[in-house]
């Protein structure tokens, strides 16, 4: 049985591929983009979330409890009067996740939508993603993945082949800048892109427009050069990107 760790499932996703979709956010990412707006997507392990905006610091959750599921976190998950505490990262078997996703199938059919695997980085859990996608296909549900493209070509191809649609990020064309802002070289990403562009699968390229980093004329021209006439969506910078960091005890390093 394949299992995966999911940190969120959002229904009625309108911007993650064709039609009305449900987007599954898989935990863990090999990159560390400075502007990342999903801090809980980075680590592959379950993480405690304390909603900073609602926490009244009453201390009730710090009193030791005997619930087995609270033990790894050292805080009680079942007592907060304001509902501030939760764990990002739930383990699912492929079957259980697919079962959950079937629920919205009527609206997928009506709108030409389906399920999108996002993250984090879905390719870090490629086997799981492929297994779920296979189960969804059995029920004629359209699948897509949203990937940063940083994975071994083997894994990338095998997973992309399973999908009906691929959304891939190309953030920075320059390898040095890519390394500087995301922590990794983009060589393998570009190699994966070239395969994707030639494999005949419908796809779309995305670039987040980070002021002064990715939105420079130079970078955008270079990306255009690489991707040719591929469908390309440029996403405006989300000024609230840093909002969730505090909930996970993390720090947002990108200057505004």
């Amino acid at each position: 049985m394949t299992t995966g760790i999911v940190f969120d499932i959002k229904g009625f996703a309108l911007h993650d591929g064709p039609g009305i979709r449900t987007t599954v956010f898989l935990k863990g990412c090999p990159l560390r983009c400075l502007w990342c707006h999903n801090p809980e997507g980075l680590s592959p392990f379950p993480q405690l979330s304390v909603k900073q905006t609602a926490c009244r610091h009453c201390g009730k959750c710090t009193v030791p409890c005997s619930h087995p599921d609270c033990q790894p976190f050292g805080r009680c998950l079942h007592i907060c009067p304001s509902g501030c505490i939760s764990v990002a990262g739930t383990a699912y078997t492929a079957e259980a996740l697919a079962e959950k996703l079937y629920a919205d199938r009527d609206v997928f059919a009506m709108s030409g939508g389906g399920v999108t695997f996002s993250g984090g980085e879905p390719l870090l859990q490629a086997d799981f993603v492929c297994a779920v996608s296979g189960l969804l296909h059995r029920e004629e549900i359209h699948t897509a993945m949203e990937t940063c493209g940083y994975a071994s070509p083997n894994v990338f191809r095998r997973t992309a082949e399973q999908m009906d649609f691929v959304i891939m990020d190309i953030k920075l064309a320059d390898p040095v800048l890519h390394k500087q802002y995301t922590g990794a070289d983009n060589g393998v990403i570009l190699e994966n892109f070239r395969w994707l562009a030639s494999c005949g699968k419908p796809y779309e390229i995305r670039t987040p427009l980070i002021p002064g980093i990715t939105d420079t004329e130079e970078n955008l021209a270079a990306i255009r050069n690489i991707i040719g006439d591929s469908k390309w969506e440029k996403l405006p910078y989300n000024t609230l990107a840093g909002a969730k960091y505090g909930n996970f005890g993390m720090e947002y390093t990108l200057e505004k």
């Binding site: 959002k10 229904g11 009625f12 309108l14 911007h15 993650d16 064709p18 039609g19 009305i20 449900t22 987007t23 707006h37 999903n38 909603k51 905006t53 609602a54 009730k60 079942h78 007592i79 907060c80 009067p81 509902g83 629920a103 919205d104 009527d106 609206v107 009506m110 709108s111 939508g113 996002s118 996403l235 405006p236 989300n238 000024t239 609230l240 909002a243 969730k244």
Partner: protein, 663 residues
């Protein structure tokens, strides 16, 4: 092309400069003279119309004329007389007739001249007064060189309207007359059905282009907004000027014509709160209709509101309406389904609180009770409460309305019409269903707490019971995401419907159960201690037909799936599921089509009524000041969603600022 001069004149309220105090109160005089209420209404109408006739005002470039300078008239009965009346009668709201859909068009088709011949003297006096008022507008038009206006008023209201412009002007005169009389929540009904013949006539005769027709319609729509701040309502905007578009006709065909489209377009361009647009749809409605509706939703006015013919028409037939009347349904001021021309229904005469019934049931049981006992007790409490509500209503009495009577062929509508049914809202349904689901799970299945422990915790507002509260409030099954809770939605709606079935009111009508809440949900919640769904004392229920405010269900697909599980035909008095969206979601390729598909999904799933809101900046500012009203407001930003009220002020400001860029 909108007449911007007229538009700004009205929206900047320049015409308010002509407002004057109303006519003096004559209730005591009337009483001394021994006048009947109907005589008083006619006298007040004539006096006010005569006053208005002294002050005709035609606004710059205005084609559809008539405006008020006087606020509503004073009461025609003295407080002492009301007290006497109340001893023997149930008085609904203010006691004046409201919230029905009269047959404006009957007069538009006959003209005042012919109508006068059959009218009783009190109604005829109203006609004379309106005629004189219109004559004064005609003189004003001639005086100011508005020959076009004078020409129209030379024909209407004395003679039947022949052209589109005449029909619109005539409608305005009749609608104005209703407000002047003191009738309120005056609805508009199936406008694209009854007004289309005149538009068709003009287009076919080649005397009007579509552009000219649009200009007339804009002018006409503006007329709903000239005096509306003076209209009776809980707050401004709550004036009942609901317009119904589209839908099935008694012959089974569907309406969708040039006027339907023109109304949607005009409403979106004017961006004014009146008239309020409702769309009747069904499983056969093409996606393109929903797309047009969604374009209007995107404007952020909170309409169109959709009603599903596939659910509503059979529901009304089952309730005893003749099929052709059921096919003609429209909505009252808010959402209750009513029948134009033949109904004198009181669609909001009371409200049943589901959580109150659950509370009583829980307290009536011993710890040894089982789940079945609880369910039986809840059904019993619903029956008892519904009976108490119905028993309070007897000998309903209204102040007669002689002018309004003209739109019902002269019958005294205050005494009733073909349909005299009464509607009861159902408040806090998700609170009730979630409470039962939580009790099933924790008390009866897991036996984690006993009933008396839960009741004791509720009485203590969960003080010192944080773990129980967190479990009930956040971890328990909830409507909108868990089938266990959804099953109680079905149970509660069935119980409510059964409690009213077979009962007659003393006007010969029946009782209808509904899914609306109006303001009752706040009052009912305030009157109840904490509830078994973890709701603390003084926290409100969710409004109308919707999921719990702390369940945090962000997927509208899931909400729709749950809330369409009950057989909504059984609770078809009216009351929408409301979904709120950040207007950001309407941006981007295909977004309109995707939202339209969601509406289609709701309709095809058997939903009865739906309202979508695109949240705009003003709303968010209001939410910032009054977060308690907007707990469920979702702002979806890029790849993630947030509860607006849970964002820091700094972030709220961010979102608000970003709103400025939204088209």
């Amino acid at each position: 092309m909108i007449n911007r001069t007229l538009y700004t004149f009205i929206t900047e309220q320049k015409h308010h400069a002509w407002r004057r105090p109303s006519v003096p109160s004559r209730a005591a005089e009337y009483a001394d003279a021994g006048m009947t209420p109907a005589q008083r209404m006619s006298a007040r109408f004539c006096e006010m119309a005569a006053e208005e006739a002294k002050n005709p005002h035609i606004l710059p470039g205005q084609k559809i004329v008539l405006m008020r300078t006087l606020p509503n008239g004073p009461d025609v009965l003295t407080p002492g007389e009301w007290e006497e009346i109340r001893k023997d009668h149930f008085i609904h709201e203010s006691g004046y007739i409201s919230n029905i859909c009269p047959d404006h068009i009957s007069l538009v088709k006959t003209g005042f001249k012919a109508a006068r011949e059959n009218a009783d003297p009190l109604s005829a006096a109203c006609l004379d007064a309106m005629s004189a008022l219109c004559a004064s507008y005609r003189e004003e038009a001639l005086r100011t060189g508005r020959v076009d206006v004078a020409e129209v008023l030379a024909k209407v209201p004395e003679y039947p309207a022949e052209t589109f412009r005449e029909a619109l002007q005539f409608f305005r005169i009749v609608h104005y007359g209703l407000w002047l009389e003191g009738d309120y929540h005056n609805t508009v009904g199936r406008f694209d059905v009854y007004m289309m013949p005149w538009l068709r006539h003009d287009l076919d005769a080649g005397i009007l282009t579509m552009t000219e027709a649009e200009e007339l319609l804009e002018d006409f729509f503006l007329s709903f907004n000239i005096d509306s701040d003076m209209y009776t309502g809980i707050q401004q905007g709550d004036n009942g000027q609901s317009m119904m578009l589209g839908g099935r006709l008694p012959d089974g065909t569907n309406v969708w014509n040039e006027l339907t489209e023109m109304c949607l377009k005009t409403s979106g361009e004017l961006k004014l709160i009146d008239p309020k647009i409702n769309l009747r749809v069904s499983k056969d409605t093409p996606l393109s209709v929903y797309e047009k509706g969604t374009e209007l939703t995107k404007v952020g006015l909170g309409f169109p509101q959709y009603s599903n013919d596939d659910v509503v028409i059979p529901a009304l037939v089952k309730l005893g309406y003749d099929p052709e009347d059921a096919a003609n349904y429209t909505v009252a001021a808010c959402w209750e389904f009513i029948i134009p021309k033949v109904g004198m229904e009181i669609a909001n005469i009371g409200a049943l609180s589901y959580p109150l019934c659950v509370d009583r049931a829980v307290r009536a049981l011993e710890d040894s009770a089982d789940l079945q006992d609880l369910k039986i007790a809840v059904a019993r409490e619903i029956r008892t409460e519904a009976a108490a509500i119905m028993d309070k209503v007897h000998d309903v009495w209204f102040v007669p309305s002689p002018f309004l009577n003209l739109l019902y062929g002269g019958r005294n509508i205050a005494d009733g019409a073909k349909y005299n049914n009464f509607g009861i809202h159902g408040t806090g349904i998700s609170c009730g269903a979630d409470s039962l689901a939580a009790l099933e799970k924790y008390v009866f299945t897991e036996k984690r707490w006993t009933l008396s422990q839960v009741v004791a915790a509720m009485d203590n507002n969960f003080e010192g019971e944080d773990e129980m509260c967190a479990a009930l409030r956040y971890e328990a099954p909830k409507c909108g995401r868990d089938d266990l809770a959804d099953r109680y939605l079905v149970y509660l709606t069935e119980a409510f419907s059964c409690a009213l079935a077979g009962r007659k009111n003393d006007r010969g009508g029946i009782w209808r159960a509904g899914t609306g809440s109006a303001m009752f949900y706040l009052w009912h919640a305030a009157a109840l201690p904490a509830s078994p769904d973890g709701r603390r004392k003084d926290e409100p229920f969710a409004a109308n037909y919707s999921v719990s405010i702390f369940a945090k269900i962000e997927n509208p697909v899931s909400v729709i799936r749950s809330l369409t599980k009950p057989d909504l035909a059984k609770v078809c008095n009216g009351g929408p599921l409301t979904l709120e969206f950040h207007d950001k979601i309407f941006a981007g390729e295909d977004a309109i089509t995707k939202v339209a598909s969601l509406v289609q999904y709701f309709i095809r799933s058997g939903g009865h009524q739906l309202q979508l809101n695109a949240v705009n900046r003003d709303r968010l500012l209001d939410a910032q000041a009054n977060p308690e009203k907007y707990r469920q407001l979702i702002v979806r930003i890029w790849g993630w969603s947030a509860y607006f009220c849970e964002l820091d002020k700094e972030f709220q400001d961010h979102v608000i600022r970003r709103q400025e860029d939204v088209i």
